[in-house]
Amino acid sequence: MDTLSQLTTLFREVFLDESIILTTSTTSSDVDGWDSFAYLNILMAVENHFGISISDTEAPHLRNIGDMIALIENKISVEN
């Protein structure tokens, strides 16, 4: 499963919403309930699922799902 599909599954679990469909251009304003508190839940879900660690300085620079995918894939490749 590609990273976008895995993120879509994670987002559906985080927000209890099976209707969520992510694209690389999805931002916080496109997902109901995605506020700064929910963002911390997303980051923790991403860290747990992909086995990576996202620092406090990296998190604010993720403007959309495309940025998140790039960060995840970069970290996976570096750590492997």
């Binding site: 304003s29 506020d35 929910a38 747990n48």
Partner: protein, 542 residues
């Protein structure tokens, strides 16, 4: 400035904010510049606001809603939310607003307790309502803002209803004691309580918008508060519109660059926001701010939690602006104590009482304490925007008053010059990001999680949020605390209560300290967390 606010004994908030503005010659003036999260802009004049709210009042009438019925909005910030709130008020419905990120339990508590008959929401929120619908026998009407056709017999399309409704509506005379706005507020024990106001509140909201926020009819005002909370209704709807002020409303969340572009491009003159947001801005790269022209911005006001002096210093140095911190509560309906233009700011203080408000610092025996001594912050009962009851809980309402004083639950001191200084809460309520969270609600949600045997929730200091939610959990013997369980706990609380109530820290513990009657001793958990003296533990159950 529109100083004569109440004409011919018509106190109706919806009428005064719209129809009366037309009578004042402001039909073509922009009432709301709506800016979506995607930066789409649309202007609505006071005539538009009047027409749309009239249509919604007619929709409610056609559905069969009556004065005194409870109707909620459950929407993110969007134009339909404003039209429907004003329409409900014109119909003299009890007008409740729900924060868009409330979870199932939070919704059930509020819709169930108030016996709400109607709710206006959006399609994607329906799943939350459907999960609790069988526990809401009073709920008759659900209106969906997105979608052109009715979905079921009791799930209606807003656009279809509105297209069939007349824009002509005469608001019947409304006495000052007619119930108006309903917000639920958290307590440290028990379920959230429904704080009910009456149309008379507009007198105080009008006065404080003028005298504290300093608005006049030429201003462009931006209040960042969500309409789910009292600031969003008192000062994001009522205060500015009842005196013909143009408001900017923005559908996006925190984004320093977008916010400053908005302040610049819309020529906002007065900005009302929260200390949490200001503290986040303080951490941004200072060069960001120098690229924007804020010459239109006269001053900034803040509300929600105490404003640190360093934020005031930062705003003076970086933005060249003053920030006036204000204090009020859901129960007070309007600003009670404030820093404001014309009053020398003492950074870190709440400011001084606003006109017509008489606060006092009282000792446990009800006597006034000397200046400089800490006590309960109280307000002499009877101000125009004072809440008139806790819905279905008169006993709890009465318990907030003693000898003519309203007990706010905050502790404070007054200095020799009459400035008030917030010291803390006299209960366990958590103020996180300007929102009150009940530890009881979070503890209750935690106990619904299979792995958790006991829970205790406290407030802990936080650099940005003022306070954060910290949960202590005692697991059933067969479970261990893992990162997966931590995430499960966070998500459960987010989806059951609200994202705001999510514990920012979850600490496994062998047992939750309780007294002999089984009450969770949160002060012991707090002392343990902060590493301070535990104090008297004579009632601790070992």
């Amino acid at each position: 400035m529109n100083d004569v606010i109440v004409n011919k004994s018509q106190y109706n908030i919806g009428h005064i904010c719209t129809t009366q503005q037309l009578e004042n010659g402001l039909a073509d003036k922009v009432a709301m510049r709506w800016i979506s999260a995607n930066d789409d802009r649309k202007d609505y004049t006071f005539a538009d606001l009047d027409n749309e709210s009239n249509r919604f009042a007619n929709v409610l009438q056609k559905l069969g809603a009556d004065a005194g019925d409870v109707f909620f909005t459950f929407l993110p910030k969007m134009p339909e939310q404003f039209f429907s709130i004003l329409g409900m008020l014109k119909m003299k419905l009890i007008t409740g607003t729900l924060f868009a990120n409330f979870g199932d339990d939070a919704l059930l508590d509020r819709l169930g307790d108030s016996k709400a008959k109607g709710i206006i929401t959006k399609k994607s929120f329906l799943k939350k309502i459907n999960r609790i619908r069988d526990q809401l026998p009073a709920l008759r009407w659900i209106i969906i803002v997105d979608g052109d056709d009715h979905i079921e017999d009791d799930i209606f399309s807003y656009s279809r209803l509105m297209s069939e409704a007349s824009a002509y509506f005469i608001t019947s005379p409304t006495s000052p004691d007619t119930p108006s706005v309903l917000h639920y507020t958290s307590g440290s024990t028990g379920k959230p309580k429904g704080v009910l106001h009456c149309h008379n509140s507009i007198l105080h909201q009008h006065a404080t918008t003028k005298n504290v926020l300093g608005l006049n009819i030429y201003d462009v005002f931006w209040c960042t508060a969500d309409q789910g909370w009292v600031t969003g209704t008192s000062y994001g709807i009522i205060g500015p519109w009842c005196q013909g002020v143009t408001q900017v409303h923005y559908g996006g969340g925190y984004d320093a660059e977008a916010w400053f572009r908005l302040l610049q491009d819309e020529k906002v003159t007065v900005w009302y926001t929260a200390p949490t947001a200001l503290r986040m801005l303080l951490r941004e790269d200072a060069t960001l701010f120098s690229s924007f022209d804020l010459s239109s911005l006269r001053h900034i006001c803040s509300v929600g939690e105490p404003l640190n002096p360093e934020v005031i210093t930062w705003a003076r140095r970086t933005l060249g602006k003053e920030i006036y911190d204000t204090w009020f509560q859901t129960e007070t309906g309007g600003i009670m104590i404030a820093n404001r233009p014309g009053l020398t700011i003492r950074p870190g203080s709440m400011g001084k009482p606003v006109e017509g408000i008489e606060p006092a610092i009282l000792a446990d025996d009800g006597a006034m304490v000397a200046d400089g001594e800490q006590g309960d912050l109280c307000v002499k009962a009877g101000w125009p925007s004072m809440f008139i009851t806790f819905i279905n809980n008169e006993q709890a309402y009465n318990s907030k008053f003693r000898d003519g004083w309203y007990y706010t639950g905050d502790t404070a001191i007054r200095d020799a010059d009459g400035y008030y200084w917030f010291m803390g809460r006299s209960d366990d309520i958590i103020n996180t990001g300007g929102h009150l969270v009940s530890p009881f609600e979070v503890e209750s949600a935690l106990l619904e999680i299979e792995e958790i045997a006991e829970s205790g929730v406290i407030a802990a200091p936080h650099e940005i949020l003022f306070e954060k939610v910290v949960a202590f959990v005692c697991l059933h013997q067969q479970f261990e605390f893992t990162k997966e369980l931590e995430l499960k706990i966070r998500l459960y609380v987010s989806n059951k209560v609200s994202s705001i109530a999510t514990p920012q820290e979850i600490i496994p513990i062998a047992a939750i300290p309780k007294n002999k009657s089984g009450k969770i001793m949160r002060r012991i958990l707090k002392a343990q967390y902060l590493g301070t003296e535990i104090g008297d533990i004579s009632t601790l159950e070992i």
